[in-house]
Symmetry: D2
Subunit: 292 residues, 4 copies
Amino acid sequence: MDVGFLGLGIMGKAMALNLLRSGFRVTVWNRTLSKCQGLVEHGASMGETPAAVVSKSKYTIAMLADPNAALSVVFEKGGVLEQICEGKGYIDMSTVDADTSLKINEAITNKGGKFLEAPVSGSKKPAEDGQLIILAAGEKELYDAAIPAFDVLGKKSFFLGSVGNGANMKLVVNMVMGSMMNAFSEGLSLAGSSGLSQQTFLDDLGAIANPMFKLKGPAMIQSSYPPAFPLKHQQKDMRLALALGDENAVSMPVAAAANEAFKKARSLGLGDLDFSAVHEIVKVTGSSGEAK
Amino acid sequence: MDVGFLGLGIMGKAMALNLLRSGFRVTVWNRTLSKCQGLVEHGASMGETPAAVVSKSKYTIAMLADPNAALSVVFEKGGVLEQICEGKGYIDMSTVDADTSLKINEAITNKGGKFLEAPVSGSKKPAEDGQLIILAAGEKELYDAAIPAFDVLGKKSFFLGSVGNGANMKLVVNMVMGSMMNAFSEGLSLAGSSGLSQQTFLDDLGAIANPMFKLKGPAMIQSSYPPAFPLKHQQKDMRLALALGDENAVSMPVAAAANEAFKKARSLGLGDLDFSAVHEIVKVTGSSGEAK
Amino acid sequence: MDVGFLGLGIMGKAMALNLLRSGFRVTVWNRTLSKCQGLVEHGASMGETPAAVVSKSKYTIAMLADPNAALSVVFEKGGVLEQICEGKGYIDMSTVDADTSLKINEAITNKGGKFLEAPVSGSKKPAEDGQLIILAAGEKELYDAAIPAFDVLGKKSFFLGSVGNGANMKLVVNMVMGSMMNAFSEGLSLAGSSGLSQQTFLDDLGAIANPMFKLKGPAMIQSSYPPAFPLKHQQKDMRLALALGDENAVSMPVAAAANEAFKKARSLGLGDLDFSAVHEIVKVTGSSGEAK
Amino acid sequence: MDVGFLGLGIMGKAMALNLLRSGFRVTVWNRTLSKCQGLVEHGASMGETPAAVVSKSKYTIAMLADPNAALSVVFEKGGVLEQICEGKGYIDMSTVDADTSLKINEAITNKGGKFLEAPVSGSKKPAEDGQLIILAAGEKELYDAAIPAFDVLGKKSFFLGSVGNGANMKLVVNMVMGSMMNAFSEGLSLAGSSGLSQQTFLDDLGAIANPMFKLKGPAMIQSSYPPAFPLKHQQKDMRLALALGDENAVSMPVAAAANEAFKKARSLGLGDLDFSAVHEIVKVTGSSGEAK
């Protein structure tokens, strides 16, 4: 199977490598072309432009940094649009908003191509291990055709219907994640301020224990927030999720309170740290707060 | 080893049975004495009063419904206080507030006895399977002596220091649980109102997946809230946790927002349903909420 | 002084009449031209199109229903743009968002005209009485030229600097107003549920008494919400104010909580009532909410 | 008319003086007796103890610092209880919680005396000017008898029914006041961060303008919070009001959010400043909060 792959950042490189290892013939492209070298050593071909990759591939997967990069790769000179056509598919696995997806979808389908948005849950490690969760939406036929690739890249994939649903589902999950992070930080702070062991609190979560608390908790106790998912991106996702709720008149007071906490953290310059750095504004730092 | 066991409700019965099966010699008591029969058939002795149980046991475990029951069993005629003395221990595994624990602790230690509060995480099933999590606090020597019993009753036990810490740790965990339930309900509601599949949302939680969401989610989608942990008790715990935070000047806006949502649910008469019934006030029921 | 006046709704008609009475020569236009008749009887001239009005006037004031109307009157065939030119001014007193103002400003100034946004605080009665508060922003020279008219229309006018500031100031004030309405509704509800007289609560506000509470309070006690400022517009303003806060990383948890309450009211179909109808979701309606 | 007056702090001294000037014969007492001198110069008698004052007076008014002082003056040796009896009345105008009022009420009425709680709205200036608002509750007959004194001390008095209602009404009003202060601080902060004039914002409040904003606003802009009503007391009142709401299942998310903000301020050591110092945690101080 001939597939294209655009974008060889941390995630994309690991994903393309997994495809190669599973026997796919992969043509790769990256804005800094030299980054293709590692993949070529593992058997990949290289395309000079996104268009060149598309011309050689049944379908092309993109894994790009942000909405701007996702748009450029499609619309710019030498971009995907120049070669996409009937019989070819384009699968954007970048995390972008629904509007960006819809714009790309319109351009691709106007040329007769098929489009799928397919954002993922999971970061570096799951990408390397082929353990991502894939939230696809768009052209069902293309989804079915891509299943062999998705089976390599992820442990699960979902088809969510029309374009935009993938982006929105990711927003909803990230919103819950952000509220949970705040709830967790409040619990850690209350435990600490009440003379309880924060470590025991971590060990004692029972039915609410989850991988995120397990991973981030010990670092948070140490006031350490190495950026995995930057706080400013988390806050942006909460803002967008709340806006989605506003459109549909869904009242979400807990998410709103969490959003304001992230915003406070952002105002204090913590936006580039991990989103667990919201703990910095939750935990008690003063020494004069006794109840009177 | 001779141990006493007071209180044979759903939890207590399962726990006493596990002790018997593991070779403990157990003397049981229950306010409705006829409930002892099932345990007697498995080899337990029966005491006519709490005092009678204490007189025959090295240490006595209690698993009672609420603070009032916990106080009665100690202070009433025929209660624990009449026989507790140097060399004997009393372990209250009921869920009570720190004040109740402190009151019992004072009375027991004044008589020369040793006291341990040891509330648990987990309900019926973990009790039957000996998979509870035990949060003990008080007399360390008694904790050490009780470890063989705790190993039978639970999968983990913690010693948290002075009396009151067990009760407070349970409050902190329940507070986080309550905030998470609200965050989850908001996510479910937003998914549903945005035209996304709620079931896919459940399948797609990745690093924030946890046993509580997995257990309650499918029922919540069906608007079903069979009471496992009643909403009015959850709200009471959030209130107490916020009060604990107030004492220590810990600002917890997410827990406060969640508490108000539970309170709203209570005001609508949902207090006796499971705490997941907060979903009833989060989910969108109207049909006229489009943004204008 | 020759001034134009576009838009003769409830507000606009009262304002134009005040100008006539104070000796201004006014040329009026309204989409439904027949509405001009009342003003003509008081001495106004009539223009067939916005452009016709502009051609005859030193500066033209507009008072239109919403951003769409404000844009149409400028950009459509026969619109303001066709006749605006150096030496002429255009003053939009409609309530619109900053983006709409900026768009109109750009078009007007490209033609050499001068532009002022000048939204007002106050509704029908203050308009009739010439007691509006005017928040002007844009071309200072035009502001100075318009002061004689502003003195007729309002009791106070402010010059706030560059275009957009008028719209934003109105958002900030409305945001505080929305939070206050929620705070007030909570107080009313708590008084009622605690067995206190709601009327005495109204009489007893001391240093926080204000015209809004005085006007809306008695009706709210009667569950009456005749629409003066529709709830859906209030909620929209809170959303926009929170978005403005997000841009500037201002954390506003009280406004966020109030916004979610308005959103809940919207989801229950109360969007067309007065914004005081948020009281419907705050007040306690159930009978089974006693604390346990 | 012979009245007693206990407590000559800032408020009490001004109030007793007003009574004297209006022709009441007043017997005064203060824990530091030397403070009576100023009143004696204006014609007051002095009592050596609260009991001595009560023995000489038809009814006795108290204006004390806090619940502890209110209890001491009644229950200690030489206290009110020693001389209160049928035919005498005791009016406590201190700000205390409902429980304290109920305790004093029970003791007074057991001795055959009549009791009225009568907390006030207003601080030093209104006390001096006889412009307080008086929230009386308890024995209606005593209220009627005290009206001549209340007419001197305040501009308005209300009779609110049974003991406790006065304290609770004050809590409700203070809760709304606390939420409004937060709403106002958020508005000030948003104005400032959005490049708008904070002074113009103050001038532009229209229907939501009120004496509190007018008094505190200019100081808040200067980050000045001279303590009139200490933040820690405001936060305590919000906590108590939320507890009252909890008893009655009134969900109050805006008050809850405001309470958490005050708590945050308290945790940063601002508890002894004026409650407007919550502005310190609302206003944006960082310089790196731009949206990304």
